[in-house]
């Protein structure tokens, strides 16, 4: 039984399938997500696959500052992803709403609506930072297992951490 648990943990860590969701992004981060999957960065080496259906996904990648119209869609899609699941907020927009702060068309940031596990700040973040963020989310997912997803109390991780950033 313990062996099966360890095997499952490894498999969850090694096989993160993504579903990419845009919540009113300017498309900058979306292009960087695609760049992370292209031959130059080759995210498939760590098992990452972009899936067409949220039912197949483990990790929800959200870009954009969460517009009012997108809130319902985000909640629906988050509920459609079967557990265990993790959420990666890609770019500065879902983390802080970025330059759109105080806009009346927004209802952000993202963690007001769904629990976020990893933030990948940047406008847009580099593709290698996105891959690092997804790998970190897969580790969190594997460690958490079938327990309920992170509540507001659990501290989300920021990738790359401040001390890793080269000046």
């Amino acid at each position: 039984m313990k062996l099966w648990k360890r095997l499952m943990c490894t498999c969850r860590r090694r096989s993160p399938w993504l579903f990419h969701m845009n919540s009113g992004s300017c498309n900058g981060c979306d292009i960087e997500i695609i760049a992370a999957l292209t031959p130059r960065y080759d995210a498939e080496q760590v098992g990452v696959l972009l899936q067409g259906s949220p039912r197949h996904a483990d990790i929800l990648c959200v870009t954009g500052p969460v517009t009012r119209n997108a809130v319902g869609a985000i909640k629906t899609v988050y509920a459609q992803v079967p557990g265990p699941k993790a959420v990666v907020a890609i770019g500065s927009c879902p983390a802080t709403t970025n330059v759109f702060i105080d806009s009346r068309t927004l209802d952000g940031p993202l963690n007001r609506h769904i629990p976020v596990d990893v933030f990948v700040p940047g406008c847009p973040p580099r593709p290698d930072a996105i891959i690092q963020g997804v790998a970190k989310a897969a580790e969190i997912l594997a460690a958490r297992g079938n327990n309920p997803p992170a509540t507001a109390k659990a501290e989300p991780v920021t990738v790359p951490a401040a001390e890793e950033v080269q000046p």
Binding site: R12, D58, P82
Partner: protein, 304 residues
């Protein structure tokens, strides 16, 4: 064929004990070949296994308004019939078999595709229904050619028994039939350029859009087993007859691997065709060759 050999073939070789690792290996070869063609490194060797185990550990969401039992039944039916098809392959010489096992093999190979059609419609998702309709149209197109090719091989050798077919020396007519079979395989295995039914991203995931967790794992497994069965069928027809069992196994595995490599290279080199182009390709371009093969087979049969 008595009960023991039948069970041994179903469970050990070329059945489940061999076929499931082979299915994962072929899925890996497919992804790795695409990666290498694109100048990437690609997934690690164990990736299909990791994906399978991970999917087994996922939750199944509650789907409102859908008959749950049917949704669960289709992937299991697809896996068991694909495993049965693999078990019928006459890999080992002098192993037994029965008259007409070729027909049973063809029927079992067809069941996963029908299950996919049914699954798409019973999931009641609009994307599933589009995918199922496409799968049905594509399956009608390639199956005519596929069945005629098999029929021409069987008619030229005067038998529907797989082992007898594998034992007879290959005639030029059989090579024509094998080429026709190879042309049908990309459509049968849903890979580019005929990946219409599961068209990734275009219609979400086609018939499998609503599937999650262990059920999706079963679909992945049935897809892998279909790879093993379909390439294995061509490999047994193309392989020379060998009396040494280990040599026969080695030739079978090597030939299957070469076919998988060819198909993956084709898949990575092409883009998805539109539905009308696909249908026209099978009805206009390949049907002629298949009809040529069967008419010459029948002609030779009446002459002899």
């Amino acid at each position: 064929m008595n009960l023991t050999t039948a069970l041994a073939r179903l469970l050990v070789f070329p059945g489940l004990l061999f076929a499931i690792p082979a299915a994962w290996f072929f899925l890996w070869v497919e992804r790795k070949a695409v990666a290498l063609m694109q100048g990437r490194i690609g997934p690690p060797f164990m990736q299909p296994f990791f994906d399978f185990v991970k999917l087994l550990g996922k939750d199944v969401p509650t789907r409102e308004g859908i008959g749950g039992m049917l949704m669960k039944a289709w992937p299991l039916l697809a896996v068991s019939s694909a495993a049965g098809a693999v078990a019928l392959l006459p890999v080992l010489p002098a192993q037994g078999g029965f008259q007409g096992d070729l027909i049973l093999l063809l029927a079992l190979l067809e069941v996963p595709s029908m299950c996919i059609i049914a699954a798409g419609f019973s999931s009641r998702s609009i994307f599933g229904e589009i995918g199922s309709a496409r799968e049905a149209v594509v399956s009608v197109s390639y199956n005519i050619v596929f069945l005629i090719a098999i029929l021409s091989i069987a008619a030229s050798q005067h038998t529907f028994r797989l082992e007898a077919l594998a034992a007879l020396p290959a005639s030029p007519l059989r090579w024509l039939g094998i080429v026709a079979l190879l042309v049908c395989l990309p459509a049968k295995l849903h890979i580019n350029p005929f990946s219409l039914p599961n068209a990734e991203q275009e219609i979400y995931s086609g018939p499998l859009t609503e599937y999650a967790g262990p059920e999706l794992a079963m679909w992945e497994l049935s897809h892998g087993l279909e790879w093993v069965a379909a390439t294995g069928l061509v490999a047994t027809l193309a392989a020379p007859h060998l009396t040494l069992w280990w040599l026969a196994v080695l030739v079978f595995i090597t030939l299957s691997f070469v076919i998988v490599l060819m198909l993956s290279t084709l898949a990575s080199a092409t883009a998805r065709l539109a539905i009308d182009t696909t249908v026209r390709f099978y009805w206009q371009c390949t049907l002629i060759f298949a009809v040529l093969a069967i008419s010459s087979a029948l002609f030779m049969r009446f002459r002899s």
